[in-house]
Amino acid sequence: MSAATALRRPWRARLSRWLPSGRTMVIAAPFVFLLVFFMVPFAAVLKISFSDVKMAVPPYTAIAELHDGVLRIVLNFEHYGDVLANPLYIGAYLDSLKVAALTTLLCLLIGYPACYLIARADPRRRNLLMMAVMLPFWTSYLIRVYAWIGLLKNQGLINSFLLWAHIIDEPLKLYHNYTGLMIGMVYNYLPYLMLPLYAQLVKMDLTLLEAAGNLGARPWQAFVTITLPLSRRAIISSSLLVFIPAVGEYVIPEILGGSDSVMVARVMWDDFFNAGDWPAASAATGCMVLLLLLPMAWFQRLQRRELEAR
C-alpha cells in the first residue's frame, strides 16, 4: 500500500462513520421523498381538521397561539363528530366504498381471465398483449375520461350503433348515472389490476399444472387447487391497488357519474371550494384515511401470517 492511500483511508473511515451507508441511502430516498411530499402536507391537513372555520385567509383558526407568552393549543374535535353525524358524509362514504368494491370485483372478473390467458399465450405475443393493456396510459387520463362521453351519451357512438342496428328503439341511458360511472371506473382501473396479477401468473411454473393433471386433476381442478391459491396474494395486492384509489376517485364520478351516486371526494371538494369549510373537509379526509387503513392493515397481517407459516 502506498503512503498516499494509507493516509487517505482513515480519513474516509472517519467520514463514513458519520454518513449512512450507500445501501441505506438508496433505500431511504423514497421514504424521505414521501415524508416531505406526502406526510408533511398530510400533517398540515390534519392540523386544519382540528382548527375552526374563520372568515379570513386562510379560512381557519390556528390551533397553537402565543397569548401573553403562554402557548395555547386548542384542538377542536367537533368536526370529526360533525362528519360522522352528517348523513351526507356517511352516505358518501358508503357510496364510495360500494363503487370501489364493485369496481374491484368487476376488474377482477375481467382482468383475471385476461391475465391468465395472456400469461399462457405465445411468449412473443405476451409482451405485445400487455403493451395493449398499457396503451391507454399513452394519453392523458382526463382526455380518456372525456372521450367516454362521446361513446356513452344519447347520440354517442354506442347508442347510435344500437339504434342503427335496430337492437334498441330509444337510446340507453349510459352517461351521467351509475352505469356511466362504473364503465369509467372499470375502464380506468383495469390496467392497475392487470399488471401485478400478470406478473404473478406469468412466472408460475407450468410444470405444476402438468403434475396436477398427471395426478388426476382435470384442468378446472388444477386451476382451483394450484393456480388460484398460488395467485392469491397477487389477487389481494392488485385488488387493493384498485380499491384504495377508487374510494377517493373524483374525476370519473364528476364527469361520467350522475346524481345517483355521490362519492366522498365530491363532498370534500364542495366543502373545500364551495362551502369554504376547510376544517370539515380536512376532518373528512382524516376519516377516509382511517377507513382505508383497515384493508391495508388486514393485508399486512395476512402477509405476515403467510411468511410465518413458511
Partner: protein
C-alpha cells in the same frame, strides 16, 4: 412399514408380460423437427427401463407422450393391453416424477402426496393410510407437515416419488430423477431409489443422459438418438456388444477402427491406422471388401514395454498423455499412423510393470480377438 407399501395392482390380462407397455410406430413432430421418429418399443412388466440419450434426442418427448402431456402425431401407446393414446393425462394409469419434482409449493408434504388420491375421490381414511404408507416407504413420514421449500433436494425427490407412487400407477415415469441432486449424493440415491422401486414392484421408465445412472438402475436400456432407438438391451449387452457407433461411443468410451475384410476365409480386417491386421472373433455378416466399424474398449487393451508375440491385434506407439484416475491410469498412445488410442490400465497392472510408462515412452498395445466388436451401423 414396507409390507404396507403401495403395490402395483395386478390385473389378469391376456397379453404377454413382455408387452406390458407397447409403443407402436409413434411419431411426434415439433414444427419441422422430428422429435420421435416412427418409434417402436416394448417394455416388460415390473421392469426398470432406461431411455438413454443426449439432450434433444427425443427421450423426454417420448416420456411426455406416455404421460399424456403431449399427443403423438400418429402411432399408438398401450399399457397393460389398454390403448391409452387418446386418454387425457388425468385419466391415464401412468404417473410421472418430474425433473424439477414439481412439488406444489403451497401444500405440505402430506397434502402433496395426497393430491392424486383426493382427485380420485378416495375416502379420507384411506387417503390418510395410503399417504402415511407412501411417506414411510420413502422415509419422509416425519416430515409430513413440512412445506417443500423446507426440504433438501434429496428429500424433495423422495416426496415426489411418494406422490407418484401413492396412486399405484401401472407405469411410473422418471424424468432425469437425479439431475437436480449434488453429484455426491447422486450415487447413493441411485441405489436407494432403485431399492424402493424394486420393493414396490412397479413398471418403470426412466429418462436420463447419464450412462452411469442408466447402468446402475436399469434392467434394460435403450440408446436413443434423433428420435429413434438405436439399441435395446441389458446394460452389459449394450456395453459389451454395441451394435452401432453411437451406442459404442455414448456408453463408455471406445476406440473405433475402420476395417476392410481381407478375404472370406479368415476373419482378418485390414485397418489403415494399424500396422497389423485385426483378427475378430465374430465378424458378423461382413463380406470381403466391406468397410466396417470396429469398437475396442480402452480397458480391454494390454500395455507393455516389450513387443507382443502375436502377429495380429497389436500396435506400437508413444505415450503422449496420461492421467491418474484412481483405480486405473488413462493413457493416450500416438501410433505411427498418427492415430491416437485410448488405453485404460488398471492400477494393479501398472504396479506389475517394472517401470511405469511415462511421456514419450514407446509402448506396445495388444488385445484379444474377442474384444473387438463389429458394429452393424
Amino acid at each position: 412399514m414396507t409390507n404396507e407399501a403401495p403395490r402395483l395392482q395386478k390385473s389378469p390380462s391376456a397379453h404377454t408380460q413382455a408387452d406390458f407397455v407397447q409403443i407402436i410406430d409413434v411419431v411426434k413432430k415439433f414444427g419441422d423437427a422430428m422429435a420421435v421418429d416412427h418409434l417402436n418399443l416394448s417394455i416388460r412388466k415390473n421392469e426398470f427401463f432406461a431411455l438413454l440419450g443426449s439432450s434433444g434426442c427425443g427421450k423426454s418427448t417420448l416420456l411426455r407422450l406416455m404421460a399424456g402431456l403431449e399427443a403423438p402425431d400418429s402411432g399408438r401407446i398401450l399399457v397393460d393391453g389398454q390403448d391409452i393414446t387418446a386418454l387425457p393425462t388425468y385419466q391415464r394409469p401412468v404417473n410421472m416424477m418430474f425433473q424439477s419434482y414439481a412439488l406444489f409449493p403451497h401444500m405440505s408434504v402430506e397434502d402433496n402426496a395426497a393430491y392424486g388420491l383426493r382427485r380420485e375421490g378416495v375416502a379420507k381414511a384411506e387417503v390418510r393410510e395410503r399417504v402415511a404408507a407412501a411417506l414411510d416407504l420413502v422415509q419422509m413420514g416425519r416430515y409430513a407437515k413440512r412445506k417443500p421449500h423446507q426440504l433438501s433436494g434429496g428429500q424433495q425427490q423422495r416426496v415426489a416419488l411418494a406422490r407418484s407412487l401413492v396412486k399405484r400407477p401401472k407405469l411410473l415415469l422418471l424424468d432425469e430423477p437425479m439431475s437436480a441432486l449434488d453429484k455426491k449424493i447422486r450415487q447413493q440415491t441411485q441405489f436407494e431409489l432403485g431399492n424402493i422401486l424394486y420393493s414396490v414392484g412397479v413398471t418403470c421408465i426412466m429418462v436420463t443422459h447419464d450412462q452411469e445412472e442408466a447402468m446402475t438402475m436399469a434392467d434394460r436400456l435403450a440408446v436413443m438418438n434423433e428420435g429413434r432407438i438405436l439399441q435395446v438391451g441389458t446394460p452389459d449387452e449394450v456395453y459389451e456388444a454395441p451394435t452401432c457407433r453411437f451406442a459404442a461411443e455414448f456408453i463408455g468410451s471406445t476406440n473405433l477402427f475402420e476395417g476392410v475384410l481381407a478375404d472370406d476365409e479368415s476373419p482378418l480386417f485390414d485397418c489403415k491406422d494399424l500396422q497389423a491386421p485385426l483378427r475378430v472373433h465374430n465378424p458378423m455378416n461382413a463380406r470381403r471388401g466391406h468397410k466396417v466399424q470396429l469398437s475396442l474398449r480402452p480397458e480391454r487393451i494390454a500395455l507393455a514395454h516389450a513387443p507382443a508375440t502375436q502377429d495380429c491385434n497389436w500396435a506400437v506407439g508413444t505415450v503422449e498423455q496420461y492421467a491418474y484416475m484412481g483405480s486405473y491410469t488413462l493413457f493416450y498412445v500416438r501410433l505411427p499412423s498418427g492415430r491416437l488410442m485410448e488405453v485404460d490400465v488398471s492400477r494393479t497392472a501398472v504396479r506389475a510393470m517394472e517401470r511405469a510408462p511415462d511421456y514419450g515412452h514407446t509402448v506396445y498395445l495388444s488385445w484379444g480377438a474377442d474384444q473387438l466388436v463389429v458394429l452393424e451401423k
